[in-house]
């Protein structure tokens, strides 16, 4: 996810920014970008301490999805602004509902229902030695005219390993809507304010430093 850092402003800052050389403007934006990056990183780290509900419910280890992404947040700045990059798929639902559909060539999404399935695709579970299958629905034998019709199968994947009894691994759904979770990210207003505060502080500091040293 990429956040373009937008700012509030005031007339003085606008005039100063407009009068700067492009490379200086990029440097000022780098301060704003870094401030936003640090703020978002702190926010996600604090958010993740309260999560992992599904993993704990299934007795699985958390995947580190948010944690690893938070550690890898980066930012770039140029003369036109700053951009913060957050390598966490699905983070957009911080700002709105997010509909997830199966990828190309797939008919279903898999929702994990067992620890072995959590954070893993079916192919990986199979590669780990599990036999994974979709059981036929009750009465499926009566509708053999359309043997590939999905309604003849239950929308679940069962699996077993070795001599164990089959267990529920996944439920299959045509799509899901992940409801908006504003706690995932700081609000856009908060992000803009963080960037702006950093810019204004930097300008004030440079002016104070120059005047104190009698440089300008």
């Amino acid at each position: 996810m990429r956040l373009n850092v937008t700012f509030q402003s005031n007339n003085v800052a606008d005039a100063v920014m407009g009068a700067l050389k492009p490379e200086s403007r990029a440097e000022v934006y780098s301060v704003a970008g870094r401030a936003v990056m640090n703020h978002v990183q702190r926010h996600i780290r604090s958010y993740m301490r309260t999560k992992h509900t599904t993993a704990h419910m299934l007795g699985a280890r958390p995947t580190g999805h948010y944690e690893k992404g938070a550690a890898a947040i980066t930012m770039t700045a140029d003369q036109s602004g700053a951009e913060v990059r957050i390598p966490i798929p699905g983070l957009k639902r911080a700002w709105g509902d997010m509909e997830i559909r199966p990828g190309p060539g797939k008919d279903f999404l898999t929702l994990p229902k067992a620890a072995i399935a959590y954070g893993r695709k079916v192919a990986e579970v199979r590669a780990l030695g599990w036999k994974v299958f979709r059981p036929a629905a009750q009465g499926a034998h009566l509708t053999q005219k359309n043997p590939r019709q999905y309604s003849e199968y239950q929308n679940i994947y069962l699996g077993y390993k070795g001599d164990e009894a089959p267990t529920l691994l996944y439920t299959l759904v045509g799509g899901v809507v992940q409801r908006r979770d504003p706690s995932l990210l700081p609000s856009q207003g908060e992000i803009a304010e963080t960037g702006w505060n950093a810019i204004w502080k930097h300008i004030q500091k440079a002016v104070a430093k120059a005047r104190q040293g009698g440089l300008k």
């Binding site: 009068a19 000022v28 640090n38 944690e67 550690a71 980066t74 192919a123 990986e124 430093k209 440089l215």
Partner: protein, 262 residues
């Protein structure tokens, strides 16, 4: 610099060396610029690793999809996670996660170092090495590693650890040589990557978080600037000089700055 681009421009380095031999025989800067995997000579698979890792760092795919793609590539070569050999099995899940995690964190670290400017260094002159990712068995020797690295560079620009586990803090200036010492395994640690940036050891869940100027002063890493600086005039970075020039040209005075809320 885009972290995905950092990965995409890496060279492919097929090798029949094991991880210890790679570390001993290949220079860290070659490894830093390469995609490699111990005892992996298949260029096609290294290309898949590079593409997958670039997609992970850009946030296009998650770790499960990344592993699925790597496993598909390895299956074509006859490898399975069920093969014996533990971490030396190229298809072991632990090894796949290790490759993805290492490449993601390295690319992010390099991108963030490249994005530093004199102004960001002024605001955040230090970093703290801190735990981002929980581990079932975290390394318990970070305090010892920090001490060994600190001692090896005379604690130049680095704070001796404060507090006890798990609140032990490892903070140093971004310019401190302690980071290279930590990456080189000062103290005899053999699981490091030779880089002056995270990850400092294979499978480590520790990464950098910026530390503000105020906190760096509080920790004794730097001196407060204007108030305690020597009689010499404070120096300005190029952008600070440009800001001061602009303010001067525009005729803005001190009152205007103090009266405007930030």
């Amino acid at each position: 610099m885009d972290p995905a681009e950092i990965i995409r421009i890496k060279d492919l380095l097929p090798t029949d060396l094991g991880s210890d031999e790679v570390r001993e025989q290949l220079a860290a800067d070659i490894l830093r610029r390469s995609i490699f995997s111990a005892r992996m000579e298949d260029l096609r698979h290294l290309t898949v690793i590079r593409d997958v890792c670039a997609d992970v760092v850009s946030g296009a795919i998650n770790q499960a999809t990344a592993r699925e793609r790597l496993l598909a590539s390895l299956a074509r070569m006859g490898h399975s996670p069920l093969d014996e050999g533990g971490i030396s099995n190229p298809a072991s899940i632990k090894r796949l996660d290790l490759i993805i995690d290492t490449q993601r964190q390295m690319a992010a670290s390099v991108a963030n170092i490249a994005a530093e400017t004199p102004a960001t260094l002024e605001e955040w002159p230090a970093v703290e090495l801190t735990r981002f990712v929980g581990k079932s068995v975290p390394r318990a020797d970070w305090a010892e590693r920090w001490n060994a690295a600190g001692e090896s560079v005379g604690w130049e620009g680095a704070a001796k650890g404060v507090g006890g586990f798990p609140d032990w803090r490892m903070v140093a200036l971004k310019s401190s040589p302690i980071w290279q010492a930590l990456g080189d395994g000062a103290g005899g640690y053999r699981d490091t990557l030779g880089n002056p940036f995270p990850p400092f050891a294979y499978g480590s869940g520790l990464a950098w978080a910026d530390v503000s100027r105020d906190e760096a002063i509080e920790l004794g890493l730097i001196q407060p600037d204007e108030q305690v600086s020597a009689p010499a005039a404070p120096s300005l970075s190029p952008s600070e000089e440009d800001i001061a020039d602009a303010v001067s040209r525009l005729g803005f005075d001190d009152d205007l700055f103090s009266n405007l809320a930030g």
